[in-house]
């Protein structure tokens, strides 16, 4: 295997679920040694599924397999002193700790940042929590949906007469995992210069709020409060998912898709009118003015929907792209896996696992020419206990005692 960008790093991941493990996955895919410390019963995501044939099995959970590629698994009960002793030995050899239990729980175990800083002055200690380690809501609990609610993104997603919608999946978990990864890398860069580790405090709520496109800014610069309106931008209409003959497409004509007053050459037909095969549409007020389209969007829809319903997604998007309009497809996961573009880029990976056989996994989120990210397989529960504890100097007999007492 070629060297990864982060092959010199060792990460201890004391985090369950989705956010912390996604942070760990980003490290692992770039070559870091990620030691995932799981409670003896296993990471929570081993119980989240989905499972082959819907038969629950802690080694076959889709969530766990996806989020823990390329890591090592060590089981350890960090709630008891004997487990804490082992964890500290692991930390002595580690560059980064990622924890998602929060400062109160970690302090109860004697594992808070302040408890460890004297013994591990170079350790980068990342806390990943719902609301952060300080501030009035620091003890509050949450998940991806509460973070999306706090971020203002949810308020602006959905239909105007219905409840706000959280984006599908658990996006705030992933966003927070990425921010924890960036924070750890920044703290490591700081350590290269200054020699010391530090605490990095990342919350799901703030990570999601960092993705707010312009809701806070509209108030800060205009006093205007944006509201959900079919998830639309206020920059113009349409930039939306619309139905077509065989599914949906994203109709985004872009700045040059409609006639542009003063800029369009005399006699030229706009790309949207060319697409729909009717040059006269350029004379229609909803084609001539973006503001007209925002207000009278139903009129616009009446003009384009009959045509869309007669054409297939692929044909519409390819024709629009040839006219330099940034239309897009709306693939399902099946469409993605079968997509000719992603296939040509070898995006998806076939990964073998002893309990599930070979499955198709998501590829890495970016490519690197010198150090291509690698997707390994997820570990079995406690698969690396012997290797990790052996490296720390525990004898076989000592490992047996720890195992029998339920410490590992």
């Amino acid at each position: 295997m070629t060297e990864g960008a982060l092959s010199d790093l060792r990460i201890v991941e004391l985090a369950q679920g989705i956010a912390g493990p996604y942070c760990g996955k980003l490290f692992a895919d770039l070559g870091a040694e990620v030691i995932k410390v799981e409670p003896p019963e296993g990471d929570r995501s081993r119980r989240l599924g989905p499972y082959p044939d819907d038969l629950p099995h802690h080694e076959r959970s889709g969530h766990y397999l996806h989020l823990n590629t390329g890591k090592k698994s060590v089981t350890l009960d960090v709630g008891v002193t004997s487990g804490q002793v082992v964890l500290k030995k692991l930390l002595a050899e580690a560059d980064v700790l990622v924890e998602s239990d929060g400062p109160a729980t970690m302090a109860g175990r004697g594992l808070a940042f302040d408890d460890l800083r004297a013994d591990f002055p170079k350790l980068v200690y990342v806390s990943l929590t719902a609301f952060g380690c300080s501030g009035p809501y620091k003890d509050y609990r949450g998940n991806s949906m509460t973070a999306m609610a706090m971020s203002s993104i949810m308020y602006n997603t959905g239909d105007p007469d219905r409840e706000p919608l959280s984006t599908g999946g658990t996006p705030a978990d992933y966003i927070a995992g990425i921010h924890a990864w960036i924070g750890a890398l920044a703290a490591l860069a700081y350590r290269e210069r200054e020699g010391a580790g530090q605490h990095v405090d990342v919350s799901l709520a703030e990570a999601a709020a960092c993705a707010d496109e312009y809701n806070a800014a509209m108030y800060a610069f205009q006093g205007a409060i944006r509201r959900r309106y079919y998830s639309r931008h206020i920059f113009g209409y349409p930039m939306d998912i619309m139905p077509c003959k065989d599914g949906h497409i994203v109709l985004v004509p872009g700045a040059a898709g409609f006639p542009q007053r003063g800029l369009t050459t005399e006699g030229a037909v706009s790309p949207m009118s060319l697409l729909l095969g009717d040059p006269d549409l350029d004379q229609n007020p909803v084609f001539q003015s973006g503001q007209q389209r925002m207000i009278n969007w139903r009129q616009f829809d009446e003009l384009v929907l009959p045509w869309l319903m007669e054409h297939e997604a692929k044909e519409i998007v390819e024709t629009a792209q040839a006219l330099r309009m940034p239309f897009a497809l709306v693939p399902s996961v099946k469409d993605l896996v079968e997509d000719e573009h992603l296939t040509a880029r070898d995006f998806f990976r076939r990964i073998a696992h002893p309990e599930t056989g070979e499955l198709t996994y998501s590829g890495p989120p970016f490519r690197m020419s010198e150090t291509p990210p690698q997707i390994g397989r997820a570990p079995l529960l406690g698969e690396h206990n012997e290797e990790a504890l052996g490296t720390l100097g525990y004898t076989k007999d000592e490992q047996a005692i720890l195992r029998e007492r339920g410490i590992t």
Partner: protein
């Protein structure tokens, strides 16, 4: 306190959202970021929504969208369609650590400024391209907006009301998402360079970047050939989970209850202890089965509650809940404010404004805050081209004369006409429900006056 990227220079040709988010984070971490725009092709966000909905005589300096995303950066304006302009850029590549761009792939190839050329100028350069569909493959030359890429990544198929069509998030979701990942990728590449002396090329496709978000759905398809159903705000891991209307005209509260203990706490906190005894909701399975009835009961309770007060009430009882904040509430929330989510910057043409952080990490040894206001068009032409390339005042004047560099855009019409055309009809937006409200005294409410 020093910042970790002090001494790192980033040449930034990115535009709009994903790329500027990536370099804004690196700037907040201490890097010197030099943005470049072209006199005839400004960053399009300089022409999107202006301060107080009025671009006045300088619309390109009053765009709020540009201002928040480019805080703390420097800027030069160079015409890359002229060979002399490309020569200037090559000179800057030679003195940079990172080179970032976000055009469709053919653009950099046409300018002979793609990675193959850049590394000849600076062998250890870290170059990142953020594009819609990546640098190769059949869709690589497709043009792309952020609003199209969330659906293209598969995420929109997971979002929507039950039984309804796929929905976009109310923003260009994959743009910031890709920008975050890009910032981390650059940090990883810089770490590798520090260790080995080698630069490299990062090809970030916004479509691919967001696919892992659908990881569990991909797994279900791989394992069982099954496609997910859109579930609104519901979850297989919590019931009840949902978004409930509160007192007020459009105030909402989300609640997520995972286990029996949380359910009991919720019932007691809301004054409905009788629900604990109700057979329909007695255990986890019953609560999943009777979710619709639960929703009606919870709505009945919530409709008399203030969304913020209900949030505190439930959280103090140990129940996961949150108010659905709008842009104003987000800005004024004491927790976000107290933790420094917003930095106040003073910009010569828009005044003092709170602008949001782009990196959520709070560091114990330094502050990853905005390095200053966004730059004016061409503000650093002299500093950068004079300082780094050693051009004299005479040479700079000649370049300005030839239109190779500039500090004003080439506009087809006077600025005031541009500003008038870009004014959004907010009165009509209010009427249509596209805006919730406009507060004329917002500066006072924000404590800016």
């Amino acid at each position: 306190m020093p910042k970790p990227l002090e001494g790192v220079r980033i040449l930034d040709l990115t535009q709009v959202y994903a790329g500027p988010t990536c370099t804004r984070i690196l700037s907040d971490l201490g890097a010197e970021v030099i943005r470049m725009e072209a006199p005839s092709r400004l960053d399009v966000t300089r022409n999107l929504i202006h301060t107080d909905n009025d671009g006045q005589e300088l619309p390109w300096e009053r765009a709020l969208y540009f201002t928040i995303r480019n805080a703390g950066k420097k800027e030069i304006v160079v015409d890359l369609n002229q060979e002399r302009g490309r020569e200037l850029l090559r000179g800057l590549i030679a003195q940079s650590d990172v080179f970032a761009e976000s055009f469709t792939p053919r653009v950099m190839r046409a300018f002979e400024l793609d990675y193959e050329h850049a590394k000849q100028i600076k062998p250890d350069i870290v170059m990142i391209s953020l594009s819609g569909y990546g640098q190769d493959g059949p869709y690589s030359d497709w043009s792309a907006y952020g609003m199209g890429l969330e659906p293209a990544s598969g995420v929109a198929q997971l979002t929507g009301y039950p039984g309804g069509p796929p929905l976009r998030t109310g923003m260009s979701f994959t743009d910031p998402y890709s920008g975050f990942l890009g910032a981390g990728a650059v940090l990883a590449a810089l770490r590798y360079r520090a260790r080995t002396g080698k630069g490299q090329y990062i090809d970030l496709s916004e479509q691919e970047a967001a696919v892992p978000l659908a990881g569990a759905a991909l797994m279900d398809f791989a394992m069982n050939g099954r496609l997910p159903e859109r579930a609104g705000n519901r979850s297989p891991w919590a019931a009840p989970q949902g978004c409930y209307r509160c007192k007020g005209d459009d105030d909402w509260l989300v609640i997520s209850i995972g286990n029996d203990g949380e359910w009991a706490s919720f019932c007691n906190a809301t004054g409905h202890a009788e629900w604990i005894e109700d057979d329909r909701f007695a255990d986890v399975l019953a609560r999943h089965q009777h979710h619709d009835e639960l929703d009606r009961l919870i709505e009945g309770w919530a409709s008399d509650q203030d969304h913020y007060e209900a949030f505190h009430l439930l959280q103090r009882a140990g129940v996961k809940a949150a108010p659905v904040l709008d842009g104003k509430e987000l800005l004024l929330d004491p927790h976000f404010r107290g933790r420094g989510q917003f930095d106040t910057v003073d910009h010569p043409h828009v005044g003092k404004r709170p602008i949001p952080r782009h990196l959520a990490a709070k560091f114990s040894s330094f502050e990853a805050s905005a390095g200053g206001p966004a730059p004016l068009l061409g503000e650093h032409n002299r500093e950068v081209l004079g300082g780094l390339l050693g051009l004299s005042d005479e040479e700079l004047a000649a370049l300005e004369e030839q239109g190779v560099i500039a500090n004003a855009p080439n506009l087809p019409v006077p600025p005031a006409i541009v500003s008038a055309a870009l004014k959004l009809p907010y009165d009509r937006f209010l009427e249509a429900g596209i805006l919730r409200a406009i507060d004329p005294d917002y500066r006072e409410q924000l404590g800016l006056e």
